[in-house]
Amino acid sequence: MMLIDSHAHMISRTTDDYEAMAAAGVVAVIEPAFWIGQPRTQVGTYIDYLSAIVGFERFRAGQFGIRHYCTIGLNSKEANNEELAEGVMEILPRFALKEGVVAIGEIGYDDQTELEDKYFRLQIELAKELELPVMIHTPHRDKKRGTTRSMDVCEEHGIDPSMVIVDHNNEETVQEVLDRGYWAAFSIYPSTKMGSARMVELLKTYGPERIIVDSACDWGISEPLGVAKTALLAAQEGIDKEAIRLICYQNALDAYGQSGQMKEEDWLNPDPIDQRTVYEGNSILRGQREPVVEDPKDKKNLSNLIIE
């Protein structure tokens, strides 16, 4: 089964993860611009970060047969550094139109401060101007109220809920998000966000419509196989195949595909120039280079001591 991980900070992940994801059926990932674990203090590092996620990371993923997309935005944590935030807002339009940018995101609230609110609104306006979807990061603390407030602000700015993906949902937020017409994404992230077993229970209650499963894997203890494991667990629990396809593939494609930057043909039948440059795929088109095919599991233990 083809899978899309629509929230994965691959810049923090290893090649082992890419191999494991590819082997598990992940054909595409979306890398939201976010915090890198410690605050950036100047626009220059932000520029280089955004360059990396539209450039090198896209190329790196392609080497494993995975198509890489990203979202561009000023995250809520760093929105609180006003000097940095002003500088970042100035350069965002230069990145938002790059190839493979599928949304403005992840944006929203962290501590729900005034500055966070200001830059959230400015970025919703940018998304409207550039006709891009919005990926919303809902806060970890005071989540329920923060989620409601995020949607209120979207509606105040007149952006259509079908253009907005509300991420990091849980049992407490999902009903309202679906009722108000938004895409509801769930991050299968150990300990803090959502677990795979809870996710399967949610599916039994809410069905697959407008629900998206992602991993949100990053620099913390997280699970790049979150989507694949949830798909398998759901199948074991008797969820029908079509529902699994919707939540682990098609819904993400439909939601982020509204950018015009993400199509199934990108991985099934890519443009020749992409095959020559950024996307090697898994086929014989890899051509000139010696291909590497190995079992990613072999790397995770000490049974094979030969490194060639």
Binding site: G55, L97, K98, R276, T277, N282, Q288
Partner: protein, 309 residues
Amino acid sequence: MTVNASQLIEKWISRQLPDAAMRWFQQQLESINDDLPSRSFDIAFGMIPRKLGKADLRLEDQDFADAAGLVAGWDPSRWSVDVAARILLLIKVSTVTNVAFATRFKEIHQTADVSELLALYYGLPLYHDPEALVEQAALGLRTNIRAEFEAIAHNNPFPAAHFEQNPWNNMVLKALFIGAMLEPVQGLDGRANPELARILSDYAHERWAADRAVSPELWRCIGPFAEGDLLDDFERVIESGNGTEKKAAALALKTAPESKRKDTLMAQLSMFNDDIENGQLTWSSIADEMFENALAVTQKLNTEVELTR
């Protein structure tokens, strides 16, 4: 010169694009003036693939002849429509900009995505004042993105025309190191030098020490300086190389300075003489053979993977 190159590119694009897309593009082209940097340029440059698509540029033999006739070595064979359109915008900028184009180039490069990088570098032979871009081109070669490296190193007359020896040698060595082909590098024979031959011989010895294969193309750059202990390398290839490597050694030895040992080694490769004489065995045929070998390996592995599924 660049005016004609622009007209040529515009002709190629326009016969392939729908009218509406071409009109949009011409408006962008006309709106470029010396008031740069500007948001309108950034947006136009960024929007090109969305508005014009990314199909390969459809070129006839005559188009390649026109290109090479205008600018020696200009080879648009890997260009797509978006790449061509972006280069056209960049050429325009290089002629009208009020700041040095090298500065603009650097700014655009700083925030470029991969396809924009390709356009920047494919266009190198066509911009006004190419000498000012040498440093940018050398910087580009330090990339980790193979396609970016190849945009400069392959099918591009810029490096041979403008690089000093050191960046040239680094480019050739890096090509081998990352598994990029040498055949599409322009000016390879003309820029051969003894320093490079020595570097490549050392590189071959490192590869052998690690029990790794050495690209048959490497011998092309060593051949013209193959004397003394460099001939030991050829002896090793004759003794233990595969078929493609031996053919490459035969071709390379033809260019070596005259010596008795050269003759002895060449005698051991005499089975390739006819093919070399009648043009069957060339560096281009070596490249084709390497490609077919790699393809065979890949197909075999893909089949194995299929079988285990």
